[in-house]
């Protein structure tokens, strides 16, 4: 167990390193460089000013040196500064992080709360009408773009139930717990639907797989009630692959949050990244993307570790 954990953690290190290199390289994709972008807003500049700015951003130094300086900054908690506001980026990300985390968590809780029971029902009643309806609803859920769903929900609420639920803005948890949950209810539903569909399909196929296993037949032949067979014996094992996918889906939720936050005017990390892109504030985009990708990697690590505890069958040498 300990050995597995150590190995698993060691395997994450090169991935995080690769992510940092990739994000650093992203800046190389810009036509021209950051200095051209800044000067684009300031008008023409003298060659001295150009050289001065390039030196300021370290662009006059060799590539690997630039990377090491940047990485050193990252490791000491310095994600750089916005080229639009000159403010340090890390504090901005940290103040916005709770919004995104709460949104993603609410979406995950919603999806699991609906996907698991429906997925089990669908598997247990395989090929019945209930199963068909659940499968088709799942496929449609998978096909609805979250931005359109969000827009239609706002339209629906403002037409038929004006004022019942907030359609924009965020109330912090510390200020008003219920109000905070309400302010993120519509956004989290918009974000949850596709995720829910995926988890539901996964639960169904995983349950079907497990229900065919010999130990399930054994449990039945011992005379156990079907309920006990399904919930005590089958479901627990069926949940293992579902947990992995739920971990992977965190990435979907964090990515989707960028779009959904924008629509509901939520002050999260997503809006920070998106505004960074629209204002061509590259350091902000770089830092935001790095932060979200790193969180995603760490969440998956946490999920892996978590079920290494839950499932005694996992013994990676």
């Amino acid at each position: 167990m300990t050995r597995y954990l150590i190995r698993r953690v060691l395997l994450v290190a090169p991935v995080l390193f690769g992510v940092s290199v990739a994000v650093f390289l992203m800046l190389r994709l810009i036509p021209g460089d950051v200095v051209d972008v800044i000067l684009g807003t300031e008008g023409a500049a003298s060659p001295e000013r150009l050289a001065q700015l390039r030196a300021l951003f370290g662009l006059d130094r060799p590539f690997h040196e630039q990377y090491l300086t940047w990485l050193g900054g990252l490791l000491s908690g310095d994600l750089g500064r916005s080229i639009r506001t000159s403010r340090p980026i890390l504090p901005d990300i940290l103040t916005r992080l709770p919004v995104t985390l709460q949104l993603a968590s609410m979406a995950m809780v919603l999806s699991l709360g609906i996907a698991l029971p429906l997925g089990v029902l669908s598997a247990v009643r395989r090929y019945t009408r209930a199963d068909s309806v659940i499968r088709i609803v799942g496929l449609i859920g998978l096909s609805i773009p979250n931005f359109w769903l969000a827009t239609m929900m706002i339209l629906g609420v403002s037409t038929f139930a004006r004022g019942v639920l907030p359609t924009s803005g965020y109330t912090p948890l510390a200020q008003d717990i219920l109000g905070s949950l309400r302010s993120l209810l519509l956004p989290s539903v918009a974000l949850a639907v596709a995720n829910m569909a995926i988890l539901m399909r996964m639960t169904r196929s995983s349950m079907l797989e497990v229900l065919r296993q010999e130990y399930v037949t054994t449990a039945r032949s011992k005379g156990l009630v079907e309920r006990a067979v399904v919930y005590r014996h089958a479901l627990r094992n069926a949940l293992i692959p579902v947990a992995t996918i739920a971990g992977v889906q965190v990435g979907y939720l964090l990515g989707g949050a960028i779009i959904v936050e924008q629509i509901f005017a939520l002050p999260g990390v997503g809006t920070l990244i998106l505004n960074g892109i629209l204002q061509r504030d590259y350091p902000v985009v770089q830092a935001g993307v790095l932060f979200v990708a790193a969180s995603f990697v760490l969440v998956n690590l946490a999920v892996d570790v978590l079920y290494a505890y839950l499932d005694p069958r996992i013994h990676y040498g």
Binding site: P14, V15, G18, V19, V21, A22, V23, M26, L27, I30, P31, R126, Y127, L139, I140, L142, S143, I144, P145, N146, F147, W148, T151, M152, L155, S158, I198, M202, S205, S206, E209, L211, R212, Q213, I240, P241, T244, I245, V248, G251, Y252, L254, G255, I258, I259, I273, L274, G276, I277, V285, V289, V292, A293, F296, V297, N300, V303, D304, R313, Y316
Partner: protein, 334 residues
């Protein structure tokens, strides 16, 4: 249980005693990280080596099985509709999708304008029809980029193994570490918003899924007798890969492609919605929803119809993908 008496006419229903590694991602011969693809697409793409070897299905069988699957047939019909709209847009659309008409702004659906008009008085039906062209075009190009790049990487990694394999696997792990839409946004954000950059970004984002799929199948196939026979008879690597290994990658590839197309269409719509993909005035469905939502209080139609078009197109590929997977490998039926 009624399981064994499945009303579906499926010869293989229920006859799958072996656990399917692709539904148990942590149990399969593991790639180093558990960061498999995201969503279902990645899942199916990641299968263990054993399950990744497709059973070759004869073409006639495949079509018959698909034709029996009502949902797949429905998907095929919807796709045919979208494809016809895309191909024959110039003949089908009642009006010029770019022609503005200041006297007919934001009209509701009517006899002259079946789906109403938008904020510039443009005919929404015509724009939705032309939008099909952009959607399918972006989907096709970006998925082609992903397939060509991914399958090449996967075949090379799987066939040669060793250092090459390790190197490719590490790079793919890094790409997998980014949530798809975030990576696509990042790439487009840096390259600058445009249709071409959108296709490049989506192509890059979905490359690893194909690489992993092709690698897994290659690993499983290359130990088989017919490959060894080819090696012994002196065929070179390129020939072995092309003639003996690639055909075996084809089946899982087809399923994945259908699902990737649905994801690529969604991604293009999302990027365009954010103003980073297709640029106005070109009629992309995502762009239409974006411009329409600003005036949604005045008229919902410019948002409703393009959105429905996205749902239908994506649904079509999802239905077909599911049907293909069931037909090609009944053990994987979801």
């Amino acid at each position: 249980m009624a399981d064994s008496m499945a009303p579906r006419a499926d010869p293989d229903a229920g006859a799958a005693p072996t656990p399917d590694p692709s539904t148990m991602p942590t149990m399969g011969p593991p790639s180093p990280t558990a960061l498999r693809g995201r969503g279902e697409a990645g899942l199916r793409g990641s299968g263990g080596t054993e399950a990744a070897v497709p059973r070759r299905v004869r073409r006639g069988d495949l079509w018959r099985r698909l034709a029996r699957n009502e949902l797949a047939v429905a998907g095929g019909l919807i796709l045919a509709l979208v494809a016809v709209a895309a191909v024959f847009a110039p003949y089908l659309s009642p009006e010029d999708p770019l022609e503005m008409n200041p006297t007919l702004l934001l009209q509701p659906p009517s006899a002259e304008h079946w789906l109403g008009t938008d904020e510039f008085g443009r005919d929404i039906l015509s724009r939705v029809i032309w939008g099909a062209r952009i959607s399918l075009y972006v989907g096709a190009i970006s998925v082609t980029i992903a397939v060509v790049a991914g399958v090449t990487l996967g075949l090379v990694a799987g066939y040669f193994g060793g250092l090459v394999d390790d190197l490719i696997a590490r790079v793919l792990d890094v790409v997998f570490a980014f949530p798809t839409i975030l990576l696509a946004l990042g790439i487009v954000g840096m390259l600058g918003p445009s249709l071409t950059n959108t296709m490049i970004a989506i192509g890059i984002v979905y490359t690893p899924v194909y690489a992993r799929l092709a690698r897994g199948t290659t690993l499983a196939v290359k130990e088989r007798d017919f490959v060894e026979a080819a090696v012994v008879s002196g065929a070179n690597s390129a020939r072995i890969i092309a003639r003996h290994i690639l055909p075996n990658v084809a089946a899982p590839l087809i399923v994945q492609t259908s699902l990737s197309l649905s994801l690529a269409i969604l991604a293009e719509a999302s990027l365009s919605f954010l103003g980073l993909g297709t640029q106005p005035p070109d009629p992309s469905w995502g762009t239409m929803v974006n411009t329409g939502q600003r005036l949604i209080e005045l008229s919902p139609w410019p948002v409703v119809f393009p959105g429905l078009a996205i749902v239908l197109a994506v649904l079509a590929f999802n239905l077909i993908g599911d049907g293909l997977r069931d037909a090609l490998d009944p053990r994987l039926r979801a």
